[in-house]
């Protein structure tokens, strides 16, 4: 079974977690 398809149900949560990290990066370096 492909790992990618196993991750699909968790994808929105992974994407949201990445969005939080990128937002923190932006606040730290661009504000």
């Amino acid at each position: 079974m492909n790992l990618w398809w196993k991750l699909v149900p968790y994808l929105p949560f992974i994407v949201l977690a990445m969005a939080v990290l990128v937002a923190i990066y932006h606040v730290k370096f661009y504000w």
Binding site: V8, P9, M18, A23
Partner: protein, 352 residues
């Protein structure tokens, strides 16, 4: 859930790649190209991490704008909403795009983002211009009025934040509500999307009878027009597509299921955003108000990501635990909206 995903794997891989490269990649490439062209035509250079976007007055790497489109387009499309209602507060509070141009810039994202979905729904038969007509006409009227509200009543930053807070709170409540009370849905079907469906519409006087299979709904076209105009006015004044209000109204008041209401809401968002953009750039100055120019490149770059994000959502939506996600997104949206509203009355000790 994983099993269902795994069994579709052999067929899905090829057809997904084919669909992406033939249908989505040209749209995404076009939006990126337009972003670069718009930057050079509007400013003579490509803004980004080193040089601030002159209209937005902030430094943001181009990849971050594309990423904003991807994550807002993806997460919101998974729960049946559009990117604008997330991209707008993110642009304001994280990217610090706080002047009035944030509104038409986000409106450019909401204009381009649903085009891929529109083509998809048209192919699958979830399309009827008679049904969409009245609400789209209302949206066009709302799109002509809303920008005047933005340049007048909502011109002050704190009042605008308050209005965005109210919109976010509504979207948050709707998402949380939908997490517990699912709207009318068809049971999942093995042959879904394999054959073309059809949405019918018959106009009799001021009423329209919308039908799908054996189901039908009797709607008043004046009411559809009024709802479209009211939602359009508020949405275009903020710079969002209006789906956050229109979807709950259609789903709750008219009991229209998701697979039918998209035939009206997707064209609505596109029409409203197009008219809103036109009004911000052309109609406002024609009536003596200063135009509110969008940061065109900002909108195009975000839209490139948004097109990919919403397409990815359409391909993975049925494998995702939608209820938990709706609750989580609704909670976050509602809390952010409440903070915006509270900040208007009692300034908070941190920047929003």
């Amino acid at each position: 859930m994983e099993n269902a995903a795994a069994t579709t794997l052999p067929m899905a891989r090829n057809s997904l790649a084919r669909e992406f490269w033939l249908q989505q990649a040209p749209l995404i490439g076009g939006a990126l190209l337009l972003g670069v062209l718009a930057a050079y035509l509007q400013h003579g250079f490509l803004p980004g991490a080193d040089r601030a976007f002159p209209v937005a007055e902030v430094r943001v790497p181009v990849w971050h704008l594309i990423w904003m489109g991807v994550w807002t387009g993806y997460t919101m499309a998974v729960v049946g909403e559009a990117a604008g209602i997330f991209a707008l507060p993110y642009s304001m509070s994280i990217l610090q795009f706080v002047n009035a141009s944030v509104t038409p810039s986000t409106q450019l994202l909401t204009f381009l983002n649903p085009i891929g979905a529109l083509l998809g729904f048209r192919r699958s038969g979830q399309w009827n211009l008679k049904f969409a007509g009245a609400v789209c006409l209302g949206g066009a009227v709302g799109g002509l009025i809303g920008p005047f509200l933005r340049s007048g009543l909502l011109a002050a930053a704190d009042v605008f934040h308050f209005a965005v807070g109210v919109a976010l709170a509504i979207a948050g409540i709707h998402l949380c509500y939908a997490a517990f009370h699912s709207t009318a849905r068809r049971p999942p079907q093995a042959d879904a999307y394999k054959k073309k469906v059809s949405i019918g519409a018959q106009i009799q006087g001021m009423r329209i009878r919308v039908s799908f299979g054996e189901e039908s709904w009797d709607l008043n076209m004046l009411a559809l027009f009024g709802v479209g105009a009211g939602v359009g006015m508020f949405a275009s004044a903020l710079g969002v597509g209006g789906g956050f209000l229109l979807v709950p109204i259609f789903a709750s008041l008219y009991r229209l299921p998701m697979y039918v209401l998209v035939a009206a809401t997707i064209p609505y968002v596109i029409v409203l955003s197009a008219v809103g953009l036109f009004t911000y750039n052309v109609v406002l100055p024609a009536f003596g108000s200063a135009p509110i120019a969008p940061e065109w490149a900002w909108g195009f770059f975000a839209a490139a990501g948004g097109i990919f994000g919403s397409w990815a959502a359409s391909k993975t939506q049925m494998y995702v635990p939608e209820h938990f996600l709706k609750l989580m997104l609704g909670g976050v949206t509602g809390i952010v909206g409440t903070l915006y509203v509270v900040d208007f009355f009692y300034p908070l000790p941190f920047r929003l």
